[in-house]
Each structure stands twice: as structure tokens, then as C-alpha cells.
Symmetry: C2
Subunit: 460 residues, 2 copies
């Protein structure tokens, strides 16, 4: 969609991408969260441009982030699996793969233009040395290579390391990187905020264009917030985490103004995938949309999104325009969305109490086995039915017309598609974060098992 | 909730209540409707005060409106039935009853203070002469006594009359009051807008305080919009109707400014009940909430609400505070909501394709038979779980504490309750709108059948 840019500045604009983790479309006041606890994000939307129809390329962390930084669908950049049909795959500790050397990431392109790039927060494109940020275009990094699951006993499974640039400086759940499992208290979000401000200040003083990829993960279960925010939200700790991130966004935007670089900084806020409804009260809200994370329904793929650039993007604008392409699963064209395959999570998971669509049941749609509709896709009109409750009747002229528009772009896509080599097929306990670079300096090296690779199992 | 009033004006403020019909919480951009098609209401919220937790007294037109105008619960003002337990009852054409002579309506109180009151739109508190607006405190009226169902053949069932003050001036689906069944085209919303503007102008010129009860019904199925708005919305004719009403609200607020009386006029916008989900694409959206119209779940009772009064209500404020009391069904206290009885619609209706909660199914909650939970109410935390998906575990301390707070107010309510005589028990085809006052002047009198009253059947 067009960003209604005015005449470009002489100097290169700074770029900040704020990528939230598992935050849902419905978590922002401006998108209708009933408790209205995101005043800074709401103000950002009022000062910038709101995108009510903004899609991620994939409803799961790793492939979504790989697509964001490469500009290519997961099926092209290799962030998918061929172990089973249409499964979500990501980069847990035991994954052997990561971002391919053949991919060109955004910071690498920006470096050619003189940008300095920093990642603050979660990487999730592979944790073996060759896959880490500083080997893929970033100049600086504070954060973790994987999700902050834990705590682990460091025997069967190591705690996730925190890196500063190319060496680890500690592990989650240890020392200053503690997350209190009972209260959810942690200072990590504040640490990420401070690091971001320091980077912005340093680049601003040096008059160097910068790219800040701000990717805090406090809204990914197990959710956490700092003491100052714990108990503040009507929504529990998940809401506390949202409030702390909302606060952080407000501080960063104020910081840009204070440093006088707001008119030369393009800021884009979004989330990597929809709220994880199976996380129940530790998960967020997808507003009126169907299901959530790990599904190709609207709840999994439509993300909150705001662009902010004072003087360049007109205040209070709303952009309505979107396209959704998720390999063979679903396609959006205009207001119509066609599902070629449907399913939520497997019967096995569902029967064990994991529900990707709690409280929601749409016949023939939110199924627990994969359903092939490729010959006769389920089509929804997202204007009349954003919740994907009423498939359009196959015998109607509306269905015929919609399919006639969609089919050519699907055929074109399939004809031109060159799938990347799948990077997320193999797992091995030996590759876990036992002894990351720098571990020796802080006495955090661990001994892992012998290599014994297997084909990863991806249940959903 | 407090309205944060500044020092009151010397003169009495004008009052405008804008009451929408079946418009849902999720229909406004400011409450997260994805297509963001209500710029005037969103601006009204930005200039005034938004209420994300505002409840109607009943999830159906007539009892909701009776409560609004009397300030009393339907069980007190008589707008309920005793024909069956916990059924929704309203005023269709065959109803014998209406608003009781014992009730004192808002315009009657205002008349004592020198106000002139006008209703523009739907009345729905009974259509027999003694129940009509001009016999219940209003000075003027343009609108209809019942819902605009039809068209009828005027033999088995008469078309609903449109009144101007105390006499009918036509019937729905006839002459200038046509609603095109195929396209949904009708000029009624524009007629209501013009009439409202004329009234405001006249009172403003006469320097008389006024009460305008603006109650258009275009968003009640069958939905309608004028030619200018048809096809404008991404959401179909329902969305067209919303856009026309949003436009009308904008025009009225501008009109107040233009006449220089905006600082002396309190405007309150809301809806009579949640979106009618059983109306499918002719119904609106309840955003993230459970079920809709005719249920006591959040989707039935939580309404969009905005207060606007320049100079008196601070700009851009949000009020979070609410109480819900629906006789014996459900109670909200703080963030906790307890359901004493649950059900959506009957099995009979459900099996015939009428679904009050399409796509939503919460075990033990969205049941199709009435379920008595009075001994152990279902309790939800609306902060963490506004969608009412996760009842709090009965054995938890959270449940015990919540119940301990709620039980005393329920007992107090029951102890002090004096139920009104039920007005909505009897039906009779003879009382339908055959020959309303004024019908003779325009040749629209019809002959009805002999009186043969029966106990009305209220299926849900
Ligand atoms: Ca994620
Ligand atoms: Ca209604």
C-alpha cells in the first residue's frame, strides 16, 4: 500500500521496525481492546498511519521474521519444512538449520547505503554461529537467539543465552536475566528499551543513518513485565507486558523528538503473528477475527500495524489495502479470501487440551484434520464477514466471480514459485545452546550430548 | 461513572440522546471495526469521552428503551413477561400492552424544567394510543411505533405506520416511506436527519432548552440506506446504513457548532442492544465479545457509547467503569461477571437455523437450553477474558473472592426488588396498526379482525 510520502528528505532516513511477539490485532486500544490500555500506541496511530489490514507472511515467529528481513515468502527463503504437509516450523534449540547464506537480509542492503544496524531482542532465525545476526548484516545485537522458554536445569536442556553482539553475556532465568515464574517479573523489557535509546543516541550524535530492529518478546508466553508494570493492567500479566511495551514505544518516539530526528525517522510497528489463543490468559486478543497464532485464519495472520514519520506521513490516516499469500493455504485478493486448505490444530493436540480457536467453531472451517479445498476453495468476504464465519455459497454468482479473480493469481504464483531448500527439517540435541561463543569468559559453558539428528516433528 | 463535569453553565443544557438500533460494540472504528468506516463517530470520541464498558439494561429493543426513558430496570417498569422464565419480550404489532401509566419518562421530568422534547425515529414502547410518545411526555414525534418489518399485504397484517406527532402520515413500504426489499434503498434516515436539524434550529432560535431523542432504525434488519450511501461500505448494506448514520451524527454535531449551541448541548451516543448475530450479514459486529442481541453475554449487553459536550467533557477521555444488572441472569461487579442462568437461543430455533452465537461455542455457557447456575454461578474475569471463554475454576480462591463480593449485591437487589406488573404478556391481532389516529385523513384505515387475545409466545 502507498504511504502517501511527501518530498523525500536529502539525508537518508533512519528506520525503526518495532516487532512485537505474539501480540494480537485486538490488543491495541485503537483496534478495540476493551480496556484501552495502550495510550502511546493509540497516539502513534493518531499521529501516523493505521493499517487495519496488514498481514504477516506466516503465523509463527521464525518464518514470519525470516520473511520480514528477506522480503520473501518462507517457502522461498527456506523457512519451512517438508517433513509433513503444511506444518508450521520454527527454530527451537534443537533445530539444526537457520537462515540460509543465500538470503540477503535488510541490514545488508542498508549497509551498502551507509546504515548501521542493530537488533534489540529476539532473533529466531537460527542459533548456530553462522546463523546469528552479526553474520547476517547486523552490526550490533542485544538479545536472545530463541524464545525465552524455561527455566531449564542446564543438564537435559540449556537455558537460552542472551547475546551482546557476537558473544553471550548470560542466560535467561539466571543472574540479571531472571524471569520470575510465579509473578512474571523481569527487567528484560526495560533493558531492551535502554539499549535501544543508547543506540539511537549514539547514531544520532554521529550523524549516521541507522536501522533499529526492536524485537522485544515479553508478550510471548511465559509473559513477563517489570515490577513497575506488574498488576497495572485489567488483563493480568499479559496486559502488564503490553502496557510496558506501549510505554516503551512512547519513550522511543519521545526520544526521537527530543533528539530532533523524528522528522527523519521512519517507524513501523507491528507483530510477528496473531495472539496465541492456546496460551489462554497468557495470550492476547485477535479482536473479531477467527482463531490465532499458527493458523492461516485472520486471527493468525492479520497484525496490528502503524507507520509513523512526522512530516512525511499525514496525521491520522488509515490505509485499507492488503494482500495475503500463504503458500497454498489461503489467498486474499481485495475483500475476498480463499482457503485452499483449512485446519486449526491436530485432533491429538486438541484432545490433550490445546485449542487454537477456543470458543470458536465454524463448521467445515476450524477443523482438526487438514482439509483439502483446492478444487473448490472456501471463500469469505472479509468486508461483510471479517470473522470468517459464513463461507460464500459455492453456487452463487458472487463465489464464481471471486474465484475467477483469484484463480489466475494463484496459478501465476505456483507457476513462478521456486521453493528454497527447506531449512527447518532436521533436529539434533547436540546443537542446542550448550556452549555459545563467549560462554568461557563468563563460566557458562555446558556439555551437550553426542550428535544424533532426527527429522523434527511439527505437529501443527 | 463520573463525567468529569466542569462548572455548569447558567442556562439549562440541551440534551440529545442518539440511540442506534441493533448496532454492535464492534461496529465503530474506534472500537476496532476493521474497515474503519465511522470517521464522524471516531472524531466524536476523540473530542468527547469514550465508554468501552457501557451496558444496556436489556439486550432487546423495547425493554432497553423502556429502561433508558424511565431509568428503571425492565423488571421494575413492567417491560417483561411472565409467560415463561427469563424470556425476552418486546412490542410487536400484536402486543396489547405498552409503557405503563405509572412510569415517569425522562421528557416528562424535563418538561417541568421547561424543556421541549422530540422523538425522531422508533418508539417501541407500545403502539396503542395511550402508549404513544405524545401521551408520555414528548411534545413532538416523527417516526414509527414498531420495527419496520414488512412489506405486508395490509390484509393479514398492516404495514407499520409513520407518525407525525399524534397522527399517522403514512406507512412503511408505501409512498415516500418505501424500503426497497431488493436493494435496501430508503430515504428514511435522511428524513430523520432533516427533521432533527429542523427541530434543533427551531428550539435554538426560540432559546428554549430541548431534549432530542434521536432513534433511527436503519441498522435493524431489514437494513436500509439512501441511494447516496448504497454500495459505499466494504461491509454491504449493513455497513452502508452505519455509514449513513455516522454521516448523520457528524452533520448534527456540526449543526450544533454552526448554531453556536455546542457548548450548551450534551450529546450521548449509544445503541439499544448488541448486534443481532442471527441476522448474519444483515447484522453488525460485537467485536471480541460473546454472542449478541437477546443474550446476556457481553455481545448482547455491552454497547458502543460516547459522551460529547465541548467545554464540559474533556477531549479524548476514556471512562472505564461499569455495572451490569440483568434480572437474575447476570451481574457485573468491577471486572467480574457472574452468570446465574445461561442460554443463547432455544434448541428449536437453533435447529431451524437461527443461531444467536454463530461460530462461537463455549462449553456449558452458550447452551441451547436454560441452565440454572444460581447456586454456583459461572464467573468470568472480563479484564483477562472479555470474550467470556474461560469460566474461573470454582475451587480457586479467585472464584471464592469474586463470589463473596457479588453475592451481597445480588441479595440486596432481590430483597429490595418490587417487580412491576408485566406489560408484555398478552397478544391480540385486533390491536395491530389497522386504523391508527389520522388514518382517515390519508385514506389509510384498514379493517382488523375481532379481538381474540392469547398469551404471547416468547421463544428466546
Ligand atoms: Ca511470535
Ligand atoms: Ca434493537
Amino acid at each position: 500500500c502507498s504511504l502517501a510520502l511527501k518530498s523525500p528528505n536529502e539525508s537518508l532516513p533512519n528506520i525503526i521496525i518495532m516487532l512485537m511477539d505474539d501480540m494480537g490485532w485486538g490488543d491495541l486500544g485503537v483496534f478495540g481492546q476493551p480496556s484501552k490500555e495502550t495510550p502511546n500506541l493509540d497516539a502513534m496511530a493518531a499521529q501516523g498511519m493505521l493499517f487495519p489490514n496488514f498481514y504477516t507472511a506466516n503465523p509463527l515467529c521464525s518464518p514470519s521474521r525470516a520473511a520480514l528481513l528477506t522480503g520473501r515468502l518462507p517457502v522461498r527463503n527456506g523457512f519451512y519444512t517438508t517433513n509433513a504437509h503444511a506444518r508450521n516450523a520454527y527454530t527451537p534449540q534443537e533445530i539444526v538449520g537457520g537462515i540460509s547464506k543465500d538470503e540477503i537480509l535488510l541490514p545488508k542492503l542498508l549497509k551498502e547505503k551507509g546504515y548501521t544496524s542493530k537488533l534489540v531482542g529476539k532473533w529466531h532465525l537460527g542459533h548456530r554461529p553462522e546463523h546469528l545476526p552479526l553474520n547476517n548484516g547486523f552490526d550490533e545485537w542485544l538479545g536472545s537467539p530463541n524464545c525465552h522458554f524455561g527455566p531449564y536445569n542446564n543438564i537435559g536442556r540449556p537455558n537460552i543465552p542472551i547475546y551482546f553482539n557476537s558473544e553471550m553475556v548470560g542466560r535467561y532465568y539466571e543472574d540479571e536475566f531472571v524471569i520470575d515464574g510465579k509473578t512474571g517479573e523481569s527487567n528484560i523489557t526495560m533493558m531492551y528499551l535502554n539499549e535501544s535509546m543508547e543506540f539511537i543516541l549514539r547514531q544520532s550524535k554521529a550523524h549516521r543513518p541507522f536501522f533499529l530492529y526492536y524485537a522485544p518478546d515479553a508478550t510471548h508466553a511465559p509473559v513477563y513485565a517489570s515490577k513497575k508494570f506488574l498488576g497495572k493492567s485489567q488483563r493480568g500479566v499479559y496486559g502488564d507486558a503490553v502496557m510496558e511495551l506501549d510505554y516503551s514505544v512512547g519513550v522511543i518516539l519521545s526520544w526521537l523528538k527530543q533528539l530532533g530526528i523524528d522528522q527523519n525517522t521512519f517507524v513501523f510497528f507491528t507483530s510477528d503473528n496473531g495472539a496465541a489463543l492456546y496460551a489462554a490468559k497468557e495470550g492476547g486478543s485477535n479482536g473479531p477475527f477467527l482463531c490465532g497464532k499458527e493458523t492461516t485464519f485472520e486471527g493468525g495472520m492479520r497484525e496490528p500495524a502503524i507507520a509513523w514519520w512526522p512530516g512525511q506521513i499525514e496525521e491520522g490516516t488509515v490505509s485499507i489495502s492488503s494482500h495475503l499469500r500463504n503458500e497454498l493455504m489461503a489467498v486474499r485478493l481485495g475483500l475476498y479470501k480463499a482457503h485452499y486448505w483449512t485446519w486449526s490444530n491436530s485432533w491429538q493436540e486438541f484432545n490433550s487440551g490445546i485449542n487454537f480457536c477456543p470458543g470458536q467453531e465454524v463448521i467445515n472451517v476450524t477443523t482438526h484434520e487438514q482439509r483439502d479445498h483446492t478444487l473448490q476453495p472456501l471463500i469469505f468476504h472479509l468486508g461483510k464477514d471479517p470473522g470468517e464465519k459464513y463461507p460464500i455459497r459455492v453456487l452463487s454468482s458472487e463465489y464464481r466471480d471471486a474465484l475467477k479473480s483469484i484463480s489466475p493469481i494463484v496459478e501465476q504464483h505456483q507457476k513462478t514459485l521456486v521453493p528454497g531448500a527447506p531449512q527447518l527439517n532436521m533436529c539434533d540435541l547436540a546443537v542446542m545452546n550448550w556452549a555459545p561463543p563467549g560462554c568461557d569468559k563468563i563460566g557458562k559453558c555446558l556439555k551437550g550430548p553426542q550428535s544424533a539428528p532426527w527429522k523434527c516433528e511439527w505437529p501443527h
